[in-house]
Each structure stands twice: as C-alpha cells, then as structure tokens.
C-alpha cells in the first residue's frame, strides 16, 4: 500500500518538478541541515544543563526559556523541507528503515521535550529538585538527537 502511494506521489506534477529541477533537492537539504544545526545546538545546551555538565551557573528554567523556543521555531521548517524531500523521492524515504527509525525517535524526543517544558512551566524549580530524573531525560534526549541526525544521514545509504 505504501509502495502504491509512493508510485502515485512520484508521478504528481510537484514531484516531477522536484525530481527534474536539479538545484531543488540540494537547496532544500541545505535549509534542512541549517535548521538541524539550530535544533541540535539548542537541545545540546539544554540537555547538557539537565545532565549537570554545562551551563550550571544558570537555572534549568532559564535554559528552557532560552533554547526551547528555537527548537519549536525550527521544527516546522524541518517538517516542511522534509515533506518537500519526501515528495521528490517518496520511496527513498517512506520505504526506508532509517527514515522510520528517525521518525520514531523524533516523536519520542518531541514528547520528552514537551514534558520537560510543561513541568518547568508549572514549577520553575522542578528539574533542580529531581537531579537524577533531569540527568536521565537530558542524556536520553541528547542520544535521541544524535540518533535522529545519524539516521537522517544513513537514509542516503540504504
């Protein structure tokens, strides 16, 4: 079923344009990677603070309000550019196990980040009072983002 959807999608006029105009895919990938750099750096700053290894002269709530808005700002651009890449090469992405792993990790880390943000909004001292939980969620988030980036790169090698 996914295969027939991919076949239909790749025969649409929009997909054919993306396939034939040679600068579109590298240009869209460039925007995608630049947004990845915003998300990756912002999340690393927050996650390392949750882990207690960097930025410890600032409160966790400061780090959440400094960096998480950049992530929510970049994610829609990542989704848009990602969808353009899928429309251009549907079966390269949708039938690719690395792509599926990437989406699963992305869903997980998005829920985790919303959880961190929500707890912090209700109680600014929440994560300082739970050091072990903060460190665990920071480490898991960092590993997931590294996993998302790695899976993204490996899509090209399946």
């Amino acid at each position: 079923m996914i295969q027939s959807f991919c076949d239909w999608l790749s025969s649409t006029a929009l997909s054919l344009t993306i396939q034939t105009v040679r600068w579109i895919i590298p240009a869209v990938q460039t925007v995608h990677i630049l947004c990845v750099s915003i998300v990756m750096s912002s999340m690393a700053m927050l996650d390392l603070r949750l882990l207690g290894v960097a930025g410890t002269n600032q409160a966790v709530s400061r780090m959440v309000s400094r960096f998480v808005p950049w992530v929510w700002g970049a994610l829609p651009v990542l989704l848009t550019t990602g969808i353009i890449l899928i429309i251009g090469e549907p079966s390269r992405e949708l039938l690719n196990p690395y792509f599926r792993a990437k989406m699963a990790m992305l869903a997980t880390v998005t829920v985790m980040t919303l959880f961190v943000q929500r707890k912090n909004a209700k109680d600014a001292g929440y994560w300082e009072a739970r050091r072990a939980a903060a460190a665990l969620i920071g480490l898991a988030s960092l590993l997931l983002w590294v996993g998302i980036l790695s899976a993204g790169r490996w899509i090209a090698y399946y």
Binding site: P26, A27, I33, S37, M40, A44, R66, V146, R153, W154
Partner: protein, 164 residues
C-alpha cells in the same frame, strides 16, 4: 605547480584513504560524525553571531555568550576538520577538482579571517564587564558576515554530494 595533485594521489593511496574508500560503512559513519560536528559548529557560533547582531539573548553580555558557546565551537570544529580530512583522503583527486569543494575551502578561509579579526581587533572592546549598551558596528558586521559565510559553507558542503 603539480604539488597539490601529487599530494592528492599520494593521500588517496595511503592505507587510510584506501580504507575509507573501500569500506562500505566507514565513509557514511565518518560523514555522520562530520555532519554532527558541523551542525554544532554552525549552531553554536550562530548563537554568538545573533548576540553580536543584538537579536537574541540581550539579557546576557556578549562576554558571557562568548565564554559559554565558543569552547563548543572550537572542539566541534576540530572534530569536523578531522572527519572532513578523512573523507577527503578517500577520493582526494576528485574532491580537489570539485567546484563546490573548492568554494567551501575558500569560504572556510574567509570565515577564519572574519573570526580572527573579531577576536584580535574587536572583541577586547566589548569584553569588559562594564561595556554594556551600544554594540560597535565592527562587531555587528562580524556577526552578519559570520552567519552568511557559515550558511554558504553548509550549502557548498551539501552541493559536493550532488556534483561529480
């Protein structure tokens, strides 16, 4: 002036260059490290550049942002450069003749000049704790030039994969 082509031929025939070229997993793995390090370089240095342009984190001094992010930039840059050199060694001659690759190297030189000029001539004027308020024009220019050049570096890097 055949020094560089000769160097490229030598490099891709070293055991390292040969291994990266022949292995099925080495190139993508090193490339992943290269991309990971690159996004941290660009993301972290952009935090400083945006502060220099006075568009983000105005409640923190430039010195604080500088001390907070640049160690990550430098460490990641070292990793990106090492990983990039390994990728280059796998097909040195091909990359040497690749236009986006050459552009990227030129842009990296320009990025270094911009950073060195800022660090040596501009930073000391704004690094003192009491130097709040107006950001000198030289610092704003350094921030804007830095962001534009890094975007171009990433674009060229991505284009290498789409050209012969």
């Amino acid at each position: 002036m055949a020094v560089i082509p000769e160097f490229c031929t030598w490099l891709e025939n070293t055991s390292v260059g040969t291994a990266v070229r022949q292995s099925t997993w080495l190139f993508p793995t090193i490339e992943t490290v290269h991309v990971l390090a690159t996004v941290v370089v660009v993301g972290s240095v952009s935090m400083l550049d945006l502060r220099l342009l006075n568009v983000a984190w105005r409640d923190r001094s430039i010195r604080e942002i500088h001390e907070e992010v640049l160690p990550w930039t430098w460490t990641s840059f070292a990793v990106a450069a090492l990983a990039g050199s390994l990728l280059f060694s796998s097909n040195a001659t091909k990359y040497y003749h690749n236009f986006p690759f050459r552009m990227k190297m030129v842009l990296l030189v320009l990025v270094s000049i911009n950073a060195a000029f800022f660090e040596m001539r501009t930073y000391h004027r704004i690094a003192t704790p009491d130097a709040e308020g107006e950001i000198p024009m030289a610092a704003k220019v350094a921030g804007a030039v830095g962001i534009v050049l890094w975007i171009a570096v990433v674009a060229c890097g991505r284009w290498i994969g789409f050209t012969k």
